[in-house]
Symmetry: C2
Subunit: 192 residues, 2 copies
Amino acid sequence: MARNVEFNEEEAIEKAMEVFWEKGYSAASMRDLTTAMQINSSSLYNTIGDKHALFVKCIKHYTESHMEQARKRARAARSPLNAIINLLNDSVNDIINKSNSCMIIKTTFEIANDDEEILGILKYNGDNTYQLLDSLLQEAKKQGELADNADPAILTDYLLSLITGWHESYILHQDPQRLRQMAQFVIKQLSQ
Amino acid sequence: MARNVEFNEEEAIEKAMEVFWEKGYSAASMRDLTTAMQINSSSLYNTIGDKHALFVKCIKHYTESHMEQARKRARAARSPLNAIINLLNDSVNDIINKSNSCMIIKTTFEIANDDEEILGILKYNGDNTYQLLDSLLQEAKKQGELADNADPAILTDYLLSLITGWHESYILHQDPQRLRQMAQFVIKQLSQ
DNA sequence: CTAATTCTGAAACGATCACTTCAGAAAGAA
DNA sequence: TTCTTTCTGAAGTGATCGTTTCAGAATTAG
């Protein structure tokens, strides 16, 4: 019938995601976003929608690639306990090497309280992450890599909380050693 | 000489703090702030300064009262270990009972990366909190309430990170039991 | 080709942003 | 009381906010 959309939506979302990631939802302006995406605002509104709809696509993209990476890393591990240890060490490395803090955590504290839709996406991501880690812990326990009295459900919540705290710690102190020591501490705790 | 300032600055800062706390720095408008403070923007700019200067006063006020409360609670405890246990339980109760997440954490993730002055204030608060908890752990160890091989420095970072994570967990799940279980888990861990 | 449809770019929308101006009210000093 | 200084309230500053409009370019169907 007629003309097709010129820009690649996936690439544009990726660019917008980076802007939201760095600046947060409120502080990112439509100008910032359209400039980074290299499209006109009319095209954006015609295809994706308003600022909020764009953010939804961006945070979904972030959580999905985040989960995909976590699962891929878990599959590559030699054993369940090893997958967990890698997950902890990878978390530390990501925190240290990336210039921004995790977008999921930033978004949770910025807008999850006032935005049902965003909260739902973050919850869904949280549940998936929980399940991944929980099943690893259950499997590790079954294989005798974990203490018999270990409680995977509590350990999962506990480890995920700890990792979130590491992000805050690194923003404040920018001290890799603090994170590595904590990771070693908790790994040792799990292993014995 | 002349007329005096009409409004009570301390009360006005308190009101502004609540607005920043709820909405965050970017999303709080000067209108929101002056309305809550019940003063005209000209008075605000004449006495306190611009939005950023106001925020500095608010976050300082928050951190100072936060620290004061923590120290007061610690002094009221029966023993060092008891002070730590109380701190953990009080943290859980605060998270559950307050409608907003901790302003310090929210601010860290929103603007600490791009704002040296705010980062400095948050670091100062972090250092004070660290010292409080570290000295409690050292004292508990000295009094035999902690295992001999316990490392207060690492434990301090570790507990503070965990508490930060609890805030995120509660935003997502609003599940008091998860927090209580984690608190019990870590208290048991410390006590043995 | 022409007609039909859709997308793009530039300009502009009203609203709101942080912030400023200034006349006049208020209050202490002499 | 009068002078002097300072604070307040209302109005307004230009800039930027998210969003819309629409003429014209682009593309496909017939």
